[in-house]
C-alpha cells in the first residue's frame, strides 16, 4: 500500500434494505491499492449486494463509497472509467458473438475501434477463446462465459477490478487461465476484489481478506492477520459462527435408522 494515497476501495456505513430484510447493515469495506482481495462470507451475507452498490449498479440506502478517493455516486465519471466489473450470474449480451461483445464493450468505453480490435484479439488468445470467438455467447459454456466476461472487464485496463464469484461453475482448466490473467494484472499494481465461497482459492490467491456475515464485515485485513496460524477455512468458520449442532435432530437420516 502506498502511503498517503487513498485506498482502492473504501466504504463507510454502507446500508441496503430490501423490504423488511436488511441485506447490508453498515459495511465499512477497505481494500488497499494493489491488493488481491477476497470478499468471503456464507450465502446471504450481502457480498453480491455490496459489490453491486460499490460498482454503481445498485443504489445504496445510506453510506459513502469511494474508489481511489472518488465517490461512486457523486463522481461517476471519474469512477466508472477506472473500474472493471464481472457481476454475479452470467449476464451478457447473448446474441452477440464473443468477439462482438468485446468490440461493443470497448467502443462503449470510448476506446478507438482499431485499438479495441487489437486488445480484443490478444484477450481472446490469452483466454483461449479464439476458436469460439465468432459463436454467439448464448451458446457458450459457463467457463467460456466467465472468461469472455473477464476479458470484457479488462478491456479498458481498469485500476480496480470487481469480480462476483468468478470461479463458480468453472472447470479447472478455465479457472487456471482466469487465475493466471488475474495474477499478472495485480502484479502490475492494479487491484482485484473478488467474492468467493472457495476458501482454498482465496487462501492461495489473496493477500487481503474481508469476511462478511449477515450484512456486516466481521473481520478484514492482511490474510495472515485473519488466519493467525489456522487455515482460512477454520478461521472463517470461527468468525461467522457455525450455526446449529450437527448432532441434534435428523435422527431419521441415514441407513442406520429404521
Amino acid at each position: 500500500m502506498v502511503e498517503g494515497k487513498p485506498e482502492a476501495v473504501r466504504t463507510q456505513g454502507l446500508f441496503k434494505r430490501f423490504g423488511q430484510q436488511i441485506a447490508v447493515a453498515g459495511v465499512d469495506l477497505i481494500v488497499p491499492r494493489g491488493s488481491f482481495a477476497g470478499l468471503v462470507g456464507p450465502n446471504g451475507a450481502g457480498k453480491t449486494t455490496t459489490l453491486s452498490m460499490v460498482t454503481g449498479l445498485l443504489r445504496p440506502d445510506a453510506g459513502v463509497i469511494e474508489i481511489n478517493g472518488h465517490g461512486v455516486w457523486s463522481d461517476p465519471v471519474k469512477v466508472k472509467s477506472r473500474i472493471g466489473v464481472l457481476p454475479e450470474g452470467l449476464r451478457l449480451f447473448e446474441r452477440l458473438s464473443g468477439r462482438e461483445l468485446l468490440l461493443y464493450n470497448g467502443q462503449l468505453r470510448g476506446i478507438p475501434r482499431d485499438e479495441v480490435e487489437r486488445r480484443a484479439d490478444e484477450l481472446l488468445r490469452v483466454m483461449d477463446l479464439v476458436e469460439a470467438q465468432d459463436k454467439l455467447v448464448v451458446d457458450y459454456s459457463t467457463g467460456m462465459r466467465k472468461k469472455i466476461g473477464l476479458a470484457a472487464a479488462l478491456l479498458h485496463n481498469p485500476d480496480v477490478l470487481f469480480l462476483d464469484e468468478p470461479f463458480e461453475g468453472v472447470d479447472p482448466v478455465s479457472a487456471n487461465t482466469l487465475v493466471e490473467v488475474l495474477q499478472r494484472y495485480t502484479a502490475s499494481g492494479s487491484t482485484v476484489v473478488f467474492s468467493s465461497h472457495v476458501m482454498d482459492l482465496v487462501e492461495r490467491l489473496c493477500d487481503w481478506v474481508s469476511v462478511m456475515s449477515r450484512g456486516n464485515i466481521v473481520a478484514q485485513g492482511p490474510i495472515d492477520s485473519i488466519r493467525r496460524g489456522r487455515t482460512l477455512n477454520e478461521a472463517f468458520l470461527d468468525l461467522v459462527g457455525v450455526r446449529g449442532g450437527g448432532e441434534e435432530g435428523l435422527s431419521w437420516l441415514g441407513s442406520s435408522s429404521v
Binding site: L57, L58, V77, F93, S97, G110, V138
Partner: protein, 518 residues
C-alpha cells in the same frame, strides 16, 4: 392436491405483488380490465335473448367456437396474461401425472382472466337457455365449455413447450403469431371483397358448420335444453376427456424431454457493416441493435407484425365502402410507423439482464442520450426504407402513386414521435421481456400491468403528440405532411433529451426493472 395447487398459484400472484406499489396498481388495473370484460361479455351474451332465437343460436355457436380458438392461441401469443405454473418446475416432485394434471388444471382456472371467461360464458345461459331444462343443461354446458377451453389451451401449450423453448421454435412462433393474426383477418377480408353481403347469412352459414364441433355443440345444447342437448353434452364431455388424456401424454413427455434451448449453434459471420457506421459509442450501439433485430426472435416479431398488419389493413380498407382519398394510403403507413415506434417503448427490455454492461460504462446524461440515439438510429435504418416501400405499395394499390409522398412523409413523422415518446416510457416504465417466449412465463411474472401501462401510454402519447400534423393531412391538407418529418425529428430529439435526463438518474432502477427473473 387441487387446493394445494390453487393456493400455490394465488401465493405466487401475491408474492409477485409484495411490496411493490406499481405492480399492485398494475394488478388492480388488470383485474379491473378482466372484470370489465366479464361484465360486457356477459351482458352482450344475455342481450341475445332480445334477438330472433335462430340468429341468437347461430351467434352463440360462433361465439363459443371463437372463444375456444382464442383460448388456444392467445396464451401462446400474448405476454402477461398467462402466468400459469410451468410443469417443468414440478418435475422432481413425486406426483403422478394425473395428480399434476388435475392440479395444473385447477391452477390455470384461478386468476382474473379465467374467471372473467367463466362469467362471460355464463352469459350464454342467460341469453340462450329456454325454460328450466335449458338452464340446467346450460350450467353443465358452460362448465364443460370452460373446461374444454382450459384443457385445449393447456394441451397445446404443453405439447409445444419443448419446441417453444428452443431457439428455432421461438423463431417459428414469431412467424406463427403473424400468420394467426392474418387468419383472424380472413373473414373480414373476404367480406370486404364482396363475397357475401348479408352478415346474418354469413353467421348462419358459419354456424351450420361449426354447430357440429364441440364448442358449437355446447352452445347448441343450451338452446336445445332437452334430450338432444344432453346427448351433445356427452360428446363435449368426451372431447374434454380425450383432450385431457392428450394433455397428460404431452405432459408426461415434456417432463422427461431435455431442454433443447441449450443446444449449441454455429458461428456467425463477422459484419462488414461496421465500417459504414459512425465510430465510437453511437456506432457500437447501432451495430449491436441491428444484430439484435436480426438474431433475436423477439426483435423480429415486431417487424413482421407491423408489415403484416399494414398489409391486412390496406386490403380491408379497400372495397366499396372503404376509405377513399389519400387517407387510404396515409392511414396504414402511419399505423405501421406507430407499431414500429412502439417497439422503442421499452427499449431496454430487449437487453434485459445484460444492461449492466451499459450501466457500468455510462457516467453522464450524454452517455444515456447517445445510447438512446443509437437505438433510434438502428430502428430508423430499418424503418425508413420499409415505410417508403409500404407507402409506395399502398399508393399503387390505391391507383394514385402520388399519394405515396404525403403518406411516407407522415409515416416518418409518426415514427419520430413514436421514438421520442418511447425514449421517455423506456426510462419511466421499463419492464422485463420474458427470457423465453413461451406460454408459461408472462412479461416477467407480475409485470404484466407495467407492460400494459407502458405500451398503452406510449401509444396514447404518440397519438396525441402526432395529432397536430397527422390530422390536417388526414383531412386533405396533404401539404402539411411536409412538416411531419421535421416535427418527428424534433419530437425524437426532445424525447431523447428528456429520456437521458430521467434515465441517467434512474439507471440502477431501470437495470433492476429489466432484470427480473422470468
Amino acid at each position: 392436491m387441487v387446493g394445494l395447487f390453487v393456493r400455490l398459484k394465488l401465493r405466487l400472484i401475491r408474492g409477485n405483488l409484495h411490496g411493490d406499489t406499481i405492480k399492485q396498481l398494475g394488478f388492480v388495473f388488470t383485474s379491473l380490465a378482466a372484470l370489465a370484460c366479464a361484465i360486457v361479455g356477459f351482458t352482450l351474451f344475455a342481450l341475445l335473448r332480445l334477438a330472433d332465437p335462430g340468429i341468437a343460436a347461430d351467434i352463440g355457436i360462433v361465439a363459443f367456437t371463437v372463444f375456444t380458438i382464442a383460448w388456444i392461441f392467445v396464451p401462446l401469443l400474448a405476454f402477461g396474461l398467462d402466468e400459469t405454473l410451468d410443469p417443468s418446475r414440478l418435475a422432481l416432485f413425486p406426483l403422478t401425472t394425473r395428480q399434476m394434471a388435475t392440479g395444473l388444471f385447477a391452477a390455470s382456472a384461478a386468476g382474473p382472466w379465467p374467471l372473467a371467461s367463466l362469467i362471460v360464458l355464463a352469459g350464454a345461459v342467460a341469453g340462450l337457455a329456454s325454460g328450466p331444462g335449458g338452464v340446467l343443461v346450460g350450467v353443465v354446458a358452460v362448465v364443460l365449455q370452460f373446461s374444454l377451453c382450459l384443457v385445449a389451451s393447456r394441451a397445446v401449450t404443453t405439447a409445444l413447450s419443448a419446441s417453444l423453448r428452443s431457439r428455432r421454435g421461438r423463431d417459428a412462433l414469431a412467424v406463427g403469431a403473424v400468420l394467426v393474426i392474418l387468419l383472424f383477418q380472413l373473414p373480414g377480408l373476404l367480406a370486404n371483397q364482396g363475397f357475401s353481403g348479408d352478415p346474418a347469412e354469413m353467421v348462419d352459414a358459419a354456424a351450420s358448420v361449426l354447430r357440429w364441433a364441440p364448442p358449437g355443440m355446447a352452445a347448441h345444447a343450451i338452446v336445445d335444453g332437452g334430450i338432444a342437448g344432453l346427448g351433445e353434452l356427452v360428446i363435449v364431455a368426451l372431447t374434454v376427456a380425450v383432450l385431457a388424456w392428450l394433455w397428460i401424454v404431452a405432459l408426461r413427455r415434456a417432463l422427461v424431454t431435455p431442454d433443447s434451448s441449450s443446444q449449441s449453434g454455429g458461428s456467425v459471420r463477422r459484419s462488414r457493416l461496421g465500417g459504414l457506421l459512425p465510430r465510437g459509442m453511437l456506432g457500437a450501439v447501432v451495430a449491436k441493435e441491428l444484430k439484435y433485430a436480426r438474431r433475436e426472435p423477439r426483435g423480429r416479431v415486431v417487424w413482421f407484425t407491423s408489415v403484416a398488419v399494414t398489409g391486412v389493413l390496406m386490403l380491408s380498407l379497400r372495397g366499396p365502402d372503404g376509405w377513399s382519398g389519400p387517407a387510404f394510403v396515409i392511414g396504414p403507413a402511419c399505423l405501421a410507423a406507430m407499431m414500429i415506434g412502439m417497439q422503442a417503448a421499452n427499449a431496454y427490455g430487449i437487453d434485459g439482464r445484460s444492461l449492466w454492461m451499459n450501466a457500468v460504462a455510462f457516467a453522464t446524461e450524454r452517455d444515456v442520450r447517445t445510447d438512446l440515439a443509437g437505438r433510434h438510429l438502428a430502428v430508423a435504418i430499418i424503418a425508413v426504407p420499409l415505410l417508403l416501400v409500404l407507402s409506395v405499395v399502398s399508393s399503387v394499390v390505391a391507383g394514385e402513386p402520388v399519394w405515396a409522398v404525403p403518406a411516407v412523409l407522415s409515416a416518418w413523422g409518426v415514427l419520430g414521435v413514436g421514438l421520442g415518446v418511447g425514449a421517455v416510457t423506456s426510462v419511466i416504465l421499463p419492464y422485463t421481456f420474458p427470457d423465453r417466449l413461451n406460454a408459461f412465463s408472462g412479461a416477467a411474472p407480475g409485470q404484466g400491468g407495467e407492460a400494459f401501462l407502458g405500451s398503452f401510454g406510449a401509444m396514447l402519447g404518440t397519438s396525441v403528440i402526432a395529432l397536430p400534423v397527422f390530422l390536417p393531412v388526414l383531412f386533405g391538407l396533404t401539404w402539411a405532411s411536409a412538416l411531419a418529418v421535421p416535427y418527428g425529428f424534433l419530437a425524437a430529439w426532445g424525447g431523447r433529451r428528456l429520456g437521458g435526463m430521467i434515465g441517467n438518474n434512474r439507471l440502477p432502477d431501470i437495470l433492476a426493472a429489466v432484470s427480473r427473473p422470468t
